[in-house]
């Protein structure tokens, strides 16, 4: 397989969801690297040449800690490292049709298109729709926003329209506010990693966002696990490159030959985690206490 380095500018639309359900396409979004047979290539990832049918291994040096996401990301835990460490991280919620409840998610570090760790919200066999939601500080736009997501569902093929990504006044438990933006699926960006198809939702939000904003990734298929990686909301003012060229922040990886997040691996993790009962609780009120930090060097009785 010969790798193409041609960059094609594709359009990723960002749609503004208005009250009443009308959607307005705002303007073209970022471009993406070339695709080849549904597999994104990675211009700086090194080698995919073949030797007697066995691809050679290549080594990248000094890869980013944040993959294709920006350090200027307004989401506080885009790497899903903190679990539900605070009200500013991603929370996994199940939606029964009447109320939202906190549920479990499992982080993973296997390959993703964003080259970052990700998280799986678990339906645990229950007929619920899942959300991964994070509050963040909005402000002056425009913004570039994107995320990679997919579902785990044994019953049917997963399609991009089974996932919705909203940014802004995407409240849970209330009607969404007027300043709500739905990221568009970028069909040409679909990436298959192992057996799993990842879908890219992206766009430019050409508007201010409320200071208290939400990034809401939702499964629209009841009972399916929801996987996400590389969520970000980046003010274009912090990334002039976006404003000047409309390019994506980084090329995405060629991952056809690498280790995927296999379904069975996530299930193994679930099975090994003891007492994984749904927490069934609502959001706590804020803590105004100065002792979240662990206390190193505790002196104690031998």
């Amino acid at each position: 397989m010969k790798k193409s380095l041609v960059l094609l500018a594709l359009v990723a639309a960002c749609q503004d969801v208005r009250p009443g359900g009308q959607e307005t396409t705002l303007r073209p979004g970022p471009a993406r690297p070339a695709q080849d047979g549904g597999v994104a290539t990675n211009p700086d990832a090194g080698v995919t040449t073949e030797d007697a049918g066995v691809p050679l291994r290549t080594v990248e040096e000094d890869t980013s800690m944040f993959g294709t996401t920006s350090v200027g990301n307004l989401l506080m835990d885009p790497l899903f490292r903190g679990g539900s460490f605070s009200s500013m991280g991603f929370l996994a919620l199940s939606w029964t049709g009447e109320q939202a409840e906190l549920t479990w998610s499992i982080p993973f570090e296997a390959a993703t298109p964003s080259r970052t760790s990700g998280a799986t919200a678990l339906a645990r066999g229950e007929p619920v729709e899942l959300h991964l939601v994070s509050m963040f500080s909005g402000g002056r736009g425009p913004f570039y926003a994107d995320v990679w997501a997919t579902l785990e569902d044994d019953r049917a093929d997963v399609t991009a329209d089974a996932i919705r990504v909203q940014v802004g006044e995407a409240w849970i438990g209330l009607e969404p506010g007027a300043r709500l933006h739905q990221l568009a699926h970028v069909p040409g960006d679909d990436v298959r990693i192992g057996r799993r198809a990842w879908f890219h939702y992206a766009g430019v939000i050409d508007a201010d966002l409320p200071a208290t904003s939400a990034f809401l990734i939702s499964s629209l298929r009841s009972g399916a696990d929801l996987l996400a990686a590389g969520p970000q909301v980046v003010p274009l003012a912090l990334q002039p490159f976006f404003a000047a060229t409309g390019q994506l922040p980084a090329p995405r990886a060629t991952r056809a030959q690498i280790q995927p997040v296999h379904q069975h691996l996530m299930r193994r993790v679930q099975e090994r985690m003891p007492a994984l009962e749904s927490p069934r609780r609502v959001m706590p009120r804020p803590t105004i206490r100065v002792s979240p930090a662990p206390t190193p060097g505790h002196v104690g009785t031998p």
Binding site: V47, T49, D62, S70, S137, T212, R272, T287, R289
Partner: protein
């Protein structure tokens, strides 16, 4: 400027286009052959290929379960986790693939040969679906993990193969810490499958100091070198004090840029961001090329201290958490001194303020009876006390939002800071309880006593420390112990007609509320709240107590809000959130989720408490909010030595960014305005950074300390009994 941002600009540059083209043909990375297989160096101290079970047993292989308890191991069990069938192993012919089962292994330990020098330990791991961790263990025990003296967790080097192997490294670490050898390396998994290969231990240089090299905080750089730290009066590798630093300059820059982004665009303490945000960013930027753990992590900690927000703290690594040579010995603790200090008016000396011993317990001290109540701290390591303490930001302690509140907080942490960081200090001892004209100067040598005790115990379990709570003496006769769940105890006694409550914060359940409901239920005439150590707590409990004791003379409300990223307070922003004051209990998320509100949601339950004395010392957060809301109420007097911390908002923890981080630090995500009514909030000012100034400044007097009198409680009780 962020590294990411630079890389984006580079996209447009011809040089990178060239790099992309070069990337289309095989490039041999260091240590890899033309086929992309890693070659272990023959110069390594230890190279492990993970193919031969017998060789692994000879190398001291041990299995552990996911709780790091030892698990059975033999050649057969080892053979089962070695994969030889993969046509493309990273190195050699095989690698380890552990699929943990119930009560089965998820981690593997290997002995490290003794080495006099500095070493770097690396391993390649693959996520299935989580990456294993690599850490090294300093120990003399036959079971190194049980007898763990210190540890360093590896970080990613940034090297990653096209089939997703990731390299981890400890960075350079000493072969021993205070004579305790680097004994073992552990590759640790959890619930995930565990995949790794190609462990290497390389000698990377000579140590900069010997195991018995002594030091002080003033000469740590010259005595211990770039990578050394001075703990217990001796040089130690700073990696075991702080943890490994991000591996490459790019990683350090990304890590620091991320912190800067959060501190300057998400942190909501208006005063701190406006006054110190730019300097904070500059201080972090200067660390991008610093590879020394002492200078890097000490620099981050010092920048956080400089930023000055009491809800804000620096990251904490597993190395720091588990170290027997910690930067400081905990918080608000007597450390190994068996003593607590307090801020004191030196009325028998020159009349200024200083730190004196408030409490001693020789049975819980490594120093025996070296200290007495009333001893005045005179110098530390032959430096003036303030000069020595000016370094405490680099030790990892955060700072009150209001600098005027520093002294009481320094006092409650002083014993544990001295315990780990000082080799000796000096105190003055007055000749009598009424005179200090000819005091005795007493030098207290901590080292080598403490160091030897820690080494003998192979850890910090050398004394039973107790809490330093800022009190010279309790205000109740029988203080209740802290509940086992770590929440705050509330002690209530009726003493000489005064309902006296002693408590340290606002955490707990019904047992926290009941004493207040009981003690305030019959509208007592005189109430004393002794909150001389207050770490805050739940907003709901703060609101509960305010609701019990406020009256119509203090209809104050507070609304704390977050911020947009681009500015702290755009026009109309605060006003747009005023409706949150009357918002009912919010759903999971809405626009008011970014606010915090306290005030008159409930009608006052007890309006007739005539006089309330609120005694403070080291108080922050909810312990800021409540006195701020009560200040000005008729019949309330706040007594204390200094202003309070002025941390008006909620705290959120930051996620760890490195494998070796236990905790990513914390920030404050609100700033708050106070006003007499909701409508008046619109024109009020944000108050974080300015703590409540006591109605009456009262400091413990040295003369009282020497005669057993608690100055603050004495004065509070006197005020309560004065005629209104």
């Amino acid at each position: 400027m962020s590294s990411w941002w630079c890389s984006m600009r580079c996209w447009l540059m011809p040089t990178l286009v060239l790099a992309l083209m070069v990337g289309a043909v095989p490039v041999r990375a260091a240590g890899f052959d033309a086929l992309g297989r890693l070659q272990l160096s023959s110069e390594n101290i230890l190279s492990v290929s993970f193919e031969d079970p017998e060789a692994l047993l000879d190398a001291g292989a041990r299995f552990y379960d996911r709780n790091l308890n030892p698990a059975p191991i033999d050649a057969q069990r080892l053979q089962r986790v070695i994969t030889l069938s993969d046509p493309r192993p990273l190195e050699g012919e095989g690698y380890v693939y552990i699929e943990p089962r119930e009560d089965d292994v998820s981690s593997l330990g290997l002995d490290v040969p003794s080495v006099d020098g500095r070493v770097e330990v690396t391993v390649w791991v693959r996520a299935e679906p989580m990456l294993p961790a690599l850490f090294v263990v300093y120990s003399t025990s036959d079971d190194p993990l049980t007898g763990l003296f210190a540890t360093v967790t590896a970080v990613a080097t940034g090297r990653r193969t096209s089939d997703d192997w990731v390299e981890l490294s400890t960075g350079p670490v000493d072969g021993a810490v205070l004579g305790i050898p680097l004994k073992q390396v552990v590759i640790q998994g959890g619930f995930s499958d565990v995949v790794f290969d190609a462990l290497e231990v390389k000698r990377v240089g000579d140590r900069a100091f010997g195991d018995d090299t002594t030091c002080t905080q003033a000469n740590v750089a010259s005595q211990c070198g770039e990578d050394g730290e001075c703990i217990f009066g001796a040089c130690v590798d700073s990696a075991v004090v702080w943890g490994a630093v991000p591996y490459t300059p790019r990683h350090r820059r990304e890590y620091l840029d991320r912190l800067t982004h959060i501190f300057t665009r998400v942190h909501a303490n208006r005063s701190a961001v406006q006054r110190r945000g730019t300097e904070f960013a500059a201080r972090l930027a200067a660390l991008a090329h610093v590879a020394s753990p002492r200078r890097f992590w000490g620099g981050v900690a010092d920048a956080v201290h400089f930023f000055r927000d009491h809800h804000t703290s620096a990251p904490v690594s597993y190395a720091a958490l588990q170290s027997s040579v910690p930067s400081v010995l905990g918080r608000e603790s007597s450390g190994v001194l068996g003593a607590c200090f307090g801020l004191t008016e030196l009325d028998l000396l020159d009349g200024g303020a200083g730190f004196t011993v408030f409490r001693v317990d020789a049975a819980r001290s490594l120093l025996g009876d070296a200290l007495r109540v009333g001893d005045v701290l005179e110098s530390i390591e032959d430096e003036a006390v303030d000069t020595w303490l000016a370094r405490q930001g680099t030790f990892g302690t955060n700072a009150p939002s209001d600098p005027a509140a520093d002294a009481p907080w320094t006092a409650v942490d002083l014993a544990n800071v001295l315990s780990s960081r000082a080799s000796h200090f000096s105190v003055l001892r007055c000749e009598s309880s009424t005179s200090c004209n000819a005091p005795t100067h007493i030098r207290v040598d901590l080292q080598p006593t403490v160091r030897q005790a820690v080494l003998a115990a192979r850890g910090l379990g050398v004394v039973e420390a107790f809490t330093c709570d800022g009190r010279y003496a309790p205000s109740v006769t029988t203080p209740r112990p802290r509940p086992d769940d770590g929440s705050d105890a509330v002690s209530h006694e009726l003493l000489e007609g005064i309902n006296t409550f002693q408590f340290d914060g606002f955490t707990g359940g019904q047992s926290w509320r009941t004493p207040f409901l009981t003690g305030l239920g019959d509208a007592p005439e005189k109430v004393l709240f002794d909150t001389r150590l207050g770490n805050g707590g739940a907003a709901a409990l703060a609101e509960f107590l305010v609701g019990l004791v406020r009256d119509q003379s203090s209809p104050q409300v507070v609304l704390g809000v977050s911020r947009p990223w681009h500015t702290l307070d755009p026009d109309g922003y605060y006003q747009s959130l005023l409706g949150c004051v009357t918002n009912p209990e919010p759903p999971l998320f809405d626009a008011c989720s970014g606010t915090i509100w306290l005030g008159a949601r409930e009608e006052p339950a007890v309006a007739s408490v005539a006089r309330i004395a609120w005694v403070t010392t080291a108080d922050v957060s909810a312990n800021d909010f409540v006195p701020r809301l009560l200040r000005g109420r008729a019949g309330v007097r706040i007594l204390g030595p200094t202003p309070l911390s002025g941390a008006y908002g909620a705290i959120v923890a930051l996620p760890p960014l490195l494998p070796g981080e236990y905790y990513g630090g914390s920030i404050q995500v609100h700033d708050s305005r106070f006003a007499a009514s909701s409508s008046a909030l619109a024109t009020a000012a944000y108050e974080s950074g300015t703590g409540v100034i006591p109605d009456e400044t009262v400091i413990q007097k040295l003369s009282h300390s020497l005669t057993g009198r608690d100055t603050l409680i004495t004065r509070a009780r006197a005020w309560l009994t004065e005629a209104p």
